[in-house]
């Protein structure tokens, strides 16, 4: 299905998922304006949100099924499978977060139905951002997402840590947005356009590869994205914010926000700046620094939540390896990795959220001691998550990591691949103690895990994620096929498309 984006009808069709989500957001806003006091209202808002997300997903699926493609002059919205898959990923992450939140919000007494509105708008922002074919759309999406998530981080008004997290996230995020916007302005100054494909064309025709204005602009854009994906040295906010936010929100931030930011980063770098080589060494070093710093600092953490926060920084490093490889295979690897990572991270944070009332921030790794005997299924799920985060064969985490390694070695980045695996060894030093505590240490006292409670919707999410991780670990073919067919072909190599691999 070819969509002529200059015609209103086709543009609306191309934007159907976004429009659906906007409508759903408005609807939930209306619902919550009427009813926002009891737990029942909260549940209603949740189910409406979920319906909206499913409708958005159906719209994405509809576009994907009809292989919608843009026709005509360069437009502001990308219509390709890469966008659809990223959209689906963000929607799925949001949907699973809603399911996990049902129990959590009531347990923690967070009777704020606006939570779901913000979740919807944040997801909408992500979809715009990942589908933006124009730097302005990317920026608008990013802002919509960020502002919603700032509020989500501080949604628990009684918690000092949450307030600190929200403020920190907001201040630093605002800075990052400033960098990004200034970078976009400079790029516009150099190329007179903000459209990604036209930037690439201008760089070629005006031979701007060495243009200082373009390079500075590109650098600032990288800084802005670096903040959003929590790449070292722009990661400082991440641990505190992840730590202080309500745990389902943390899971959402660590997955959907990251997926959208990486998809946008990859698209911008490859489509607009594919001809500019200057960013490759920068991303290379960002990847190395992020992997090394993230993994080593995670090693020193005692609480599970902070450990997971730093581990998510480390995973951003692995994803940056795919960005540095910047090939057709790399974009497929990015999608496959993000998929596996989303499943595992959502499940891990849902399991953490089950650990206790108002207390999961303080759950130390040693506090999990004896969980294996007390709650065998829960412990098994968490153990699978840890192994998948570690990238152990038999789990989807391994498939993702393997794909990134394939992309890196195909791009002759063997050193980067070696650093990736070596830092993965380091990560065994903090994932394994979780398993060790659960199975190899006795529980500290008799009723140690009596308060662990996983609500039914959350349990369904965890079970689905864990089964998905294991099944895709053994038979990854559908995931790989989807990732391969949705990959972005870098324009520079578009003339000679990659062969069978």
């Amino acid at each position: 299905m070819n969509l002529d984006l200059t015609s209103t009808g086709d543009l609306a069709r191309a934007l159907l998922p976004e429009l659906t989500l906007t409508a759903a957001g408005m609807l939930v806003l209306l619902v919550t304006a009427w009813r926002h006091t009891s737990g029942r209202d909260l549940r209603i808002a949740g189910w409406v949100t979920l319906t909206g997300l499913v409708a958005g997903g159906a719209a994405v699926w509809w576009l994907w099924w009809h292989t919608a493609r843009a026709a005509g002059p360069p437009s502001m919205i990308a219509v390709d499978d890469f966008r659809f898959v990223t959209d689906a990923l963000c929607l799925a992450a949001a949907g699973l977060t809603v399911l996990v939140s049902f129990d959590y919000l009531e347990r923690e007494g967070l009777l704020v139905p606006e939570y779901y509105v913000l979740l919807l708008f944040a997801t909408l922002g992500m979809m715009l951002m990942a589908g933006g074919e124009d730097l302005m759309v990317v920026f608008l999406g990013l802002e919509l997402m960020s502002v919603s998530v700032y509020v989500l981080a501080g949604i628990d008004r009684r918690s000092g840590a949450a307030a600190e997290a929200a403020l920190k996230y907001f201040l630093l995020g605002a800075f990052a947005s400033g960098f990004l916007l200034y970078g976009i302005a400079l790029v516009y100054g150099a190329t007179a356009t903000t459209n990604l494909t036209q930037i690439a064309a201008q760089v070629r025709s005006l031979s701007l590869v060495q243009s200082p204005m373009l390079l500075i602009g590109l650098g600032l854009v990288l800084v802005g994205f670096g903040f959003k994906v929590a790449a070292v040295p722009f990661h400082m906010w991440a641990p505190d914010v992840y730590d202080g936010s309500p745990t389902p929100v943390t899971g959402y931030m660590a997955t959907a926000v990251k997926a959208a930011a990486f998809a946008a980063l990859f698209r911008v770098l490859v489509e607009a700046f594919g001809g500019v080589t200057a960013w490759k060494p920068i991303v290379w070093w960002l990847a190395v620094a992020t992997m090394v710093v993230g993994n080593f600092i995670a090693l020193a953490q005692h609480t599970v939540k902070r450990m997971l926060a730093y581990s998510s920084v480390a995973h951003a490093g692995y994803l940056l390896v795919a960005v540095a490889a910047a090939s057709w295979a790399a974009s497929a690897a990015l999608l496959a990795y993000l998929f596996a990572y989303t499943l595992v991270t959502l499940a891990a944070f849902a399991l953490l959220a089950a650990q206790g009332r108002e207390g999961e921030r303080d759950v130390r790794i040693d506090d999990l001691a004896g969980l294996g005997q007390r709650r065998p299924w829960l412990a098994l799920a968490l153990a699978v998550c840890m192994l998948s985060l570690l990238g152990f064969p038999g789990t989807a985490g391994f498939i993702g990591k393997w794909y990134i390694l394939v992309a890196a070695t195909m791009a002759h980045e063997n050193v980067l691949a070696a650093i990736l695996v070596l830092t993965s060894v380091v990560s065994a030093g903090y994932y394994l103690p979780v398993i060790m505590a659960m199975y190899m240490k006795p529980q500290p006292f008799d009723q140690a895990h009596a308060g662990v409670r996983l609500g039914r919707p959350a349990a369904v999410v965890v079970a689905a994620c864990v089964v998905g991780l294991l099944v895709l670990g053994v038979r990854p073919n559908p995931l790989l096929d989807l990732a391969r067919s949705s990959a972005i072909v870098p324009p520079a190599r578009a003339a000679t498309p990659a062969t069978g691999r």
Partner: protein, 502 residues
């Protein structure tokens, strides 16, 4: 039918059985596990008769797995892996039986993990696809990690994580090397495949990269063997693991390293492996392992630690045999691999039995117990003698073949290695003396039980193998000879061509 399905059955059955073990009541778990492992052994036994030495790879099954990446499910055995498979299926039922009294907590989980471990080990030995091999190589880590970490001794957590991280470190670099190898070969031939047969047939032109790739494979396997100086995880893991864990570790897991050298490192990178400097360096490390392992074993107060260091020495012989690369030395190395599995496995069983009686692993805790437990003392004597390498036991045949085969290429190395046999006598005989002879000076030793029928059932098959291989190894040698010969010739030939064309 049998020839195609047997290896897959060997891989799949333990996993199915493990699920069964988890479902039955706790007190039934060990019996179910024992029957399951005996069934596994029964499935594998016909391999011995139906195997045709001259036919190369057989019992092959080849199915697509992840076509997008050129990954297939390919399994098969030849004269090298056949014995590793049989050794595994032989040792697992014995380990299960030997754990009956030792494992008292969480039995279902333990026996289920033992069975899963069996699958992983068989998988390593039968994989003919590098991706499949890597997956199996890693997957078998998890059950062993739990077996050490949950049912181990006092320092089990430390030992478990050390074991895990050492192996993980080596194998991840190997993963990158596998990838680079496949991509390089793929770029030259246009077909990206992880198939072992395809890769070995299309080598050449790797250039200087071959050195780094070999290095990564070497590191992975050398840690697993373990070669000096990568051996430090071994004493911890061996000592802290429960008896069955130690037996499987020594009996099978260490062989994965040497098997990896024979199956992958040598045939894939012949030019590097046979580079004089590298060959000499590895032979030197092997010699250091033999002598150093023996000397360190001599001063161990802990019986299990002594056996652990003796493993370092024995595996040194295997490495010498592999790297001398003559027909006899490779056959000798393979035989030492089998023998070490049997003798050291038996030693660990006996150490475990002593521990169950006195709750001490210290040699000094015993003394003069031959009068109290004559059967156990007799078994320990025979097994120790076989581990030393006394003629008419299995230990002698293997080490003698290694020395014989290594002598033409490395006469001095053979000489040094021969002293290793003497060192072996110097650490095992005094230990034997202190445990079962000497005066019976500790009152608590006067009431020890002798072997129970169950323990006799564990030891008799091992003792029978010790004598059988010691007296009549021909059936084994006959089955491994064509594969060993083929390996030696092809590696030497490839090395010569690659070196000449460079």
């Amino acid at each position: 039918m049998y020839s195609q399905a047997v290896l897959t059955a060997l891989l799949g059955w333990p996993v199915v059985a493990a699920a069964g073990v988890l479902l039955v009541p706790e007190r039934w778990a060990k019996h179910v596990a024992l029957s399951a492992s005996l069934v596994e052994f029964a499935i594998s036994v016909p391999l011995w008769w139906t195997f045709q030495p001259a036919a190369g790879m057989q019992f092959v099954l080849d199915l697509p797995w992840i076509p997008a990446w050129g990954i297939r499910y390919t399994v098969g055995v030849d004269g090298i892996s056949l014995f590793m498979v049989l050794l595994t299926t032989f040792l697992v039922p014995l380990s299960v039986l030997g754990s009956y009294a030792y494992i008292t907590t969480r039995q279902r989980a333990f026996y289920a993990l033992m069975l899963v471990l069996t699958s992983g080990m068989i998988g390593v030995f039968v994989s003919l696809d590098l991706f499949l091999f890597y997956v199996m190589w890693e997957v078998m880590l998890i059950p062993m990690y739990f077996i050490i970490g949950v049912w181990g001794g006092e320092r089990r957590l430390y030992a478990a994580i050390k074991f895990f991280i050492y192996t993980f470190f080596g194998s991840l670099l190997m993963l990158v090397a596998i990838l680079v190898l496949v991509l390089r070969v793929g770029q030259q031939t246009g077909l990206y495949s992880f198939s072992y047969a395809y890769l070995t047939a299309h080598l050449g032109g790797l250039g200087p990269a071959a050195f780094w790739l070999f290095g990564a494979f070497f590191l992975a396997f050398a840690i697993k063997v373990p070669m000096f100086p990568f051996h430090t995880w071994l004493p911890d893991a061996h000592v802290e693991a429960p008896t069955a864990g130690s037996v499987i570790l020594a009996g099978v897991l260490l062989k994965m390293g040497t098997y990896g050298f024979l199956r992958f490192a040598l045939p894939l990178f012949p030019a590097v492996a046979l580079h004089p400097a590298i060959q000499a360096g590895i032979v030197t490390l092997a010699l250091i392992g033999i002598v150093y392992g023996g000397l360190v074993a001599m001063v161990q107060p802990d019986f299990k630690k002594l056996i652990a260091y003796s493993s370092v020495a024995h595996l040194g012989f295997v490495m010498l045999g592999i790297w001398a690369l003559t027909l006899q030395s490779v056959q000798g190395a393979l035989l030492v691999m089998i023998n070490h599995g049997i003798s050291t496995g038996a030693l660990f069983f006996l150490a475990g039995m002593l521990y169950e009686r006195r709750h001490s692993r210290l040699i000094d805790a015993f003394g003069g117990i031959a009068k109290v437990v004559p059967l156990l003392a007799a078994a320990l004597t025979i097994v120790s003698l076989s581990s030393i390498g006394l003629p008419a036991t299995n230990g002698f045949v293997g080490e003698f073949l290694v020395l014989l085969g290594a002598f033409p290429t490395y006469p001095r190395a053979a000489l040094v290695a021969a002293t290793g046999v003497i060192v072996a006598a110097m650490y095992l005989l005094p230990a034997l003396q202190r445990v079962i002879y000497n005066p019976l000076d500790k009152p608590e030793n006067e009431q020890l039980r002798d072997l129970s029928p169950r323990e006799i059932a564990v030891l008799v098959p091992l003792l029978a193998c010790i004598v059988w291989i010691g007296v009549y190894p021909a059936p084994i040698l006959r089955r491994m000879e064509p594969a060993a010969k083929n390996l030696v010739q092809s590696v030497r030939l490839d090395a010569a061509t690659f070196t000449a064309t460079r």
